[in-house]
Symmetry: C2
Subunit: 340 residues, 2 copies
Amino acid sequence: MTLHDVAREAGVSYATASRALNGSDRVVRAEYADRVKAAAQKLGYAPHLSAQAIARGSTSTVALVVSDVEDPYFSSIAAGVTEAAEATGLIVTMAVADRSPDLELQIVRTLRGQRPRAVLIAGSRIAGTDTRAALIEELMAYQAAGGRVVVISQDDLPFDTLAIDNRGGARSLAIALAERGYHRFAMLHAADAIRTSHDRRTGFTDGLREAGLTVDADRSIEVAFTREGGIEGVRELARRGLDDVEVIFAANDMMAIGAMTALRDAGRIPGTDIGVAGFDDIGSALDVSPALSTVRVPLREVGLQALQMALSGQEHGAVAVATQVVLRDSTPDRREITPA
Amino acid sequence: MTLHDVAREAGVSYATASRALNGSDRVVRAEYADRVKAAAQKLGYAPHLSAQAIARGSTSTVALVVSDVEDPYFSSIAAGVTEAAEATGLIVTMAVADRSPDLELQIVRTLRGQRPRAVLIAGSRIAGTDTRAALIEELMAYQAAGGRVVVISQDDLPFDTLAIDNRGGARSLAIALAERGYHRFAMLHAADAIRTSHDRRTGFTDGLREAGLTVDADRSIEVAFTREGGIEGVRELARRGLDDVEVIFAANDMMAIGAMTALRDAGRIPGTDIGVAGFDDIGSALDVSPALSTVRVPLREVGLQALQMALSGQEHGAVAVATQVVLRDSTPDRREITPA
DNA sequence: TTGAAAGCGGTACCAG
DNA sequence: CTGGTACCGCTTTCAA
C-alpha cells in the first residue's frame, strides 16, 4: 500500500509513480501514467499525507479553534470555514477550547505541531488572563515559522483579525428600539472580561445615550453568556420588579431566547408584554415566537473570510465585519400601541 | 526549530533530545533532560507531528465526517467526539459532506491519507446510492490497513455501528400520543431513501397501529428533512385541510419547529389548536413555545461513545442506542380538554 | 545511558 | 521523459 508497491505493480520507477499520481509539473508518458493509476486503484493506494507533508515541507491542513461546537455561533463559523477549506482542498482540524484560556493555549500548542497552513481562532476572548501572553508567544512563533494566524472577533491580539462590529451593532439596535418607542430598558450581559459582551453592553448604552435614554444600574444584570444566563437574568429582574421594563436587551441570542422562556414562566408574554432583543441572529432566532429581534452577524461568511484571509498571503490587520439590526416581532413598534 | 536545533542548543545528541522530549521508555539522565527541555522551551520548539507520524507509523488523529456542522444534530455529535478526543490527547479532523454521498466518498478518500486512528461517520445515509459500494470499499481498505471505522445511526454498513433506535422511539412516541388522547394524525417526513426518516416514519405508523390508529395517506407528506421542509409540509397540509388534524408528527425537530412556525402563520396555535411532536431533542426543542414534545437521542453521548468504540480495539458490531420519549407542552393531554 | 545510523513514505533534483 | 537518490524531521534499533 505504499508508493513502492504501486511502482512495482505498474512496473515503473518509484519516482515515476510519484509523478504520475500526485500533481507534478513534470509530465509522464500517458501509458505509464495510466498503468500507475490503475495499479494505485487496484491496490487501494492512498498517499500518506504525513509523508507528503514532510517531503514537501507543507501540509494541506488548517486548524480551527472554537469555544464550543454546540453553540450555533461557533458552529456557523465552523461551517463557513469547512466550506471554504473543502473548496480549496484543505482538511480542517477542529479543536474545542471549552471557553478555557488554558485549554486554548494547550490546543494551540498541539495544533502547531501539525504545521497547519493556518490557525483560525474563534474564541471568546477573556481579558486579563495570564495565559494570554503565552498564547501570543505561541502564535508568534508559529507565524515566524511561516504559519498564518487569523483571529475572529477579538481586535486586541497582534494578528490579522476579523473584528465583528459588536459595539456599532449594539448601538444601532439601541437607537432602532428607541425609535420604535421604547423608553425603559433592561440589559442582560456577561462579565466585562468577556470582550464581546463588554462591547455590546457599552455600545448599547452609547446608543441609548444618543437617543437621550439610559438604563438604570439595577436594570443591568450580569449573568452567564448562555441560555441559562438569560433565564437567570430575567428571574433576577423579576425580583427587582418587572413592571416598568418595556424591553430587555440580551448580549446574545441564546441569552435572549432563555430570557423569553423565563418571561413566559413569569407570566409575561414576550413581545406583547415585554420586548426582547438579542445579538447574533442565530438560526433559532427565527424559530422562537415571536421571532427575535437581533443584530445579524454574518457568521458563516466570517468563517469563509477568515480562511480566505489566512490563505491570501497578505497581512490584513484588523478587518471590520459589519453587523446589521434586524427588527422582528419580539420588539413590536410601541408607537402603534402607545400613542404619543 | 527542529529537533536538531534543540539538541545542538542543549549540547546533546539528536537521539537524546528525542528521548527527553517525547515519551520514550528509555531513561535520560535528569540533567540532560532538563537541558533539552529548557532548550526546546527557549527555541519554541514544537515536534513535527507529521514527522512523528511517519517515524512512529501511527498518528494521533481521528477523522469525523458529518453531513452539516450547523445542524444541531451533528454539532452535538461533534461536541461529544471532540470532548472524548481531547481527553485522549487526540486531534479531530472534521469534514462536512453536505449530505452528498459523492462528497462523502471523496472526503473519506482524502481523510484516509491522513492515516487517522479512526474514521467516524455520522452521515445521513441515503439508500441505493451507487457511491455506496465505493464508500464501503474505501472504508474496508482503510480498515484492512489497521484503521477503525465507526458508523453512527446507519446499521446497514458492514462496520461497527451505533444504531440509534429511530424506529422504536417513533413507535413509543406514537403510543404515548395515542395515550394522551390524540386520534387524528398527520405526518411530515423525508424521502424513504433517507433511512433515518424512513425508520421514524414506519416506527410511528407501527405504534399507531398498535394503538388501533392509522394516519391517512393524504395526511402523510414527504418534504425536505429540514426546517423549511416542516414549513412546506404544513402549508401543503393546510391546502388539504387542517381542520381534522389533532397532532403533527415531524420526523425531526427541525421540521417540527418549522411546522410550528408555519402553523402560526396559518393562524393555528401549536399545542393549543394542533399538537406538534418531533424527534431528536435538540437544544432548541426547549426554546420554542410551547416546548416541543420529541424523542430524545443522546447525541453528545453518541459522539463520545463512537470514539470510545473506535479506540477500544474490539469489534462491536451494531450497538443499539436507546431513545426516549419526552412529552412537553406542544402535545398537551387531550383527555383533559376533550372529555370522553 | 548515549550517540550513530537506518529507516518511515514521499518529493524533487540531477544525470541520463 | 525516466530512474536514481539525497533529503524532510523524527523514532528506534544497535553498538559503544
